[in-house]
């Protein structure tokens, strides 16, 4: 972090306090609390249906929590409750400072627009009106995520699954966000593509110094990318701590099960 005035920099980026979310009788998240600092990568692991995605959607302002607060340190509004902002401001914060990588690239991309337009879209959404500049930055990002720059005007439909996912990652990083949400970014990809993508993501997030919350059910992904880990079961956080600590010395029964169920080859 090359900050000019290190003393006054507020290192807190995100703070979740006692977040609950229920859908009628079903409780998806119960009393989730954690903090995230700038440049930190948090992994959320847990079994299917443990409330990981719901938690992510609540934090990213897409779902109103039943109770609890999501505090975010935005450039425009400072440190404050995301749901205390007006819808307009919340959408603007989301547009300017967040990225959201979906599990299925079809959810995160505009399939009718070209790959280049998909990557350039966040720039247009944030007010850039110079075609040449957008084109250049899009080409740069195509190169950074190792996409063939000659296919910049191809439709995402003509890209492979791994390429679509890289397109989505470029699209979510081009506008220089401070926080990126990733919902199982490598799910549905074959293992060799997963490895390359993980490698790429690790390089990018370290280079850009951005914070990320990565939801995954793959312990390997968490081990490789995350600084800290949050283990969820039935909507509750059962264990949290440094990734290596949690994975090497799991305390909770569920975490022990999770860690021991990874196939050793």
């Amino acid at each position: 972090m090359n900050m000019i005035a290190p003393v006054t920099v507020d290192e807190r980026l995100l703070e979740v306090c006692g977040l609950d979310k229920s859908f009628g009788p079903i409780t998806a998240c119960k009393g989730v609390s954690f903090q995230l600092r700038r440049g930190e990568i948090l992994g959320i692991v847990g079994e299917s249906g443990s409330g990981k995605t719901t938690l992510l959607r609540c934090i990213s302002g897409q779902l109103q929590p039943s109770s609890g607060a999501v505090m975010f340190n935005s450039r425009r509004h400072g440190f404050g409750d995301v749901f205390g902002l007006s819808e307009q401001d919340r959408r603007r914060v989301s547009r300017e400072e967040w990225g959201y990588v979906h599990q299925n690239p079809r959810d995160g991309l505009r399939m009718r627009a070209s790959g280049g337009a998909n990557v350039a879209e966040p720039l247009m959404m944030n007010g850039i009106r110079h075609y040449g500049e957008m084109r250049q930055r899009t080409l740069d990002w195509f190169a950074r995520v190792e996409l063939d720059t000659t296919r910049i005007d191809g439709r995402p439909r003509t890209f492979s699954g791994g390429m679509q996912q890289r397109l989505q990652i470029a699209r979510n990083l081009i506008h220089n966000p401070s926080l990126v949400f990733m919902d199982e970014p490598t799910g549905g990809l074959d293992v060799s593509v997963q490895a390359r993508l993980l490698d790429l993501m690790r390089m990018l997030v370290r280079d850009l110094g951005l914070a990320a919350i990565i939801v995954t059910h793959d312990i390997g992904v968490a081990r490789l990318l995350a600084d800290r880990l949050l283990v969820m079961k039935d909507g509750e956080v059962v264990e949290q701590g440094l990734t290596d600590q949690v994975l090497d010395d799991p305390q909770h029964g569920y975490t022990q099960l999770l860690v021991s169920s990874v196939l050793q080859i």
Partner: protein, 308 residues
């Protein structure tokens, strides 16, 4: 209430109400028009009625006209710029019958001009009203299918997405292609689809002295550009907005400034370019201008056909 409805009750029983629509419907549409004029570029919803023509034939424009027309109005209707096309003749005849108005083909004589594809070449005057028949009022629709989302985007002025279409166009063609229905920003606030008029006509909307009313019957929306309102066509800093131009002059009236239609004459590659605005072209020919094909069999002399 009864006083306002005298016009309807003076007519003999068994005929349609004045200007076809019933008085309550006209009042409802007038309220929508007032709202649209008060918020330039905003799409005001209204309860569109069944009309005696199918959707897509100008039901929105006909309802707007029916709501604002009075017996002392002079009515002009054009389709593709021409007064003598089937649709224009039918709609003009319709209002001549149900609203007892004088109809004209002269742009400067008309008080209400109904159109789909063109704005007349002649400069519009204060007091004139343009009525547009709009097929798709929502400029963001093909980019965002959810109505709830497009409404939010209009409310919060989130128009970055519209540039996606322009970006695609520049990437594919090296320029902002799209010749018609070119998006505009009205009064630097609302993004608006100017109906399928060619972008050639977009600059005429800027600071126009006439009132422009847009009616979309199927989509049930009315929007407006009041007189003297800023209207800006979207573009990129390095790809500025421009309008179509032609190397040829009009084959009949030799106009170099007007919007031209290309007419294929035979299967040997012969073609001609003529003004799409038939009234403008006829005026010029009467004033003595003659293009390279003046006097040709296709040149009818621009005389108006008699109305029933």
């Amino acid at each position: 209430m009864t006083a306002r409805m005298t016009m309807a009750s003076n007519r003999p029983r068994g005929t349609y109400n004045y200007a076809y629509l019933d008085e309550q419907t006209k009042r409802m549409i007038r309220r929508a028009i007032l709202k649209a004029v008060a918020i330039p570029g905003y799409q005001a919803p209204f309860g569109s009625r069944e009309m005696p023509v199918p959707y897509g034939w100008g039901t929105g424009g006909i309802q707007v006209t029916a709501s604002i027309i009075g017996p002392d109005d002079v009515y002009k209707c054009i389709d593709q710029g021409a007064d003598d096309t089937t649709n224009a003749v039918s709609i003009r005849r319709f209002f001549a019958r149900v609203a007892d108005v004088v109809t004209t083909e002269k742009t400067r004589d008309a008080t209400i001009i109904q159109t789909r594809h063109r704005i007349p070449e002649a400069m519009l005057q204060p007091g004139q009203i343009m009525v547009y028949q709009v097929p798709l009022p929502e400029p963001l629709r093909h980019l965002e299918h959810r109505e709830t989302e497009t409404r939010a985007m209009h409310a919060y002025e989130e128009y970055g997405l519209k540039y996606l279409a322009l970006y695609e166009s520049v990437a594919a063609y090296g320029r902002i292609a799209g010749g018609a229905d070119y998006p505009v920003l009205v009064d630097e606030r609302y993004l608006m689809s100017p109906s399928p008029i060619p972008k050639f006509d977009n600059p005429k909307l800027h600071q126009s002295e006439a009132l422009h009313l847009f009616g979309a019957g199927r989509e049930k929306r009315i929007y407006a550009i009041p007189p003297y309102t800023d209207v800006r066509s979207l573009d990129f800093e390095d790809y500025p907005f421009d309008v179509q131009c032609w190397d040829e002059v009009c084959a009949l009236c030799a106009s170099a400034e007007s919007y031209k239609d290309e007419v294929i004459l035979d299967d040997a590659g012969n073609r001609m370019f003529v003004c799409s605005d038939s009234d403008y072209c006829a005026d010029r020919r009467q004033a003595g201008h003659a293009g390279p094909m003046a006097g040709h069999a296709l040149d009818q002399g621009g005389k108006p056909e008699p109305l029933a």
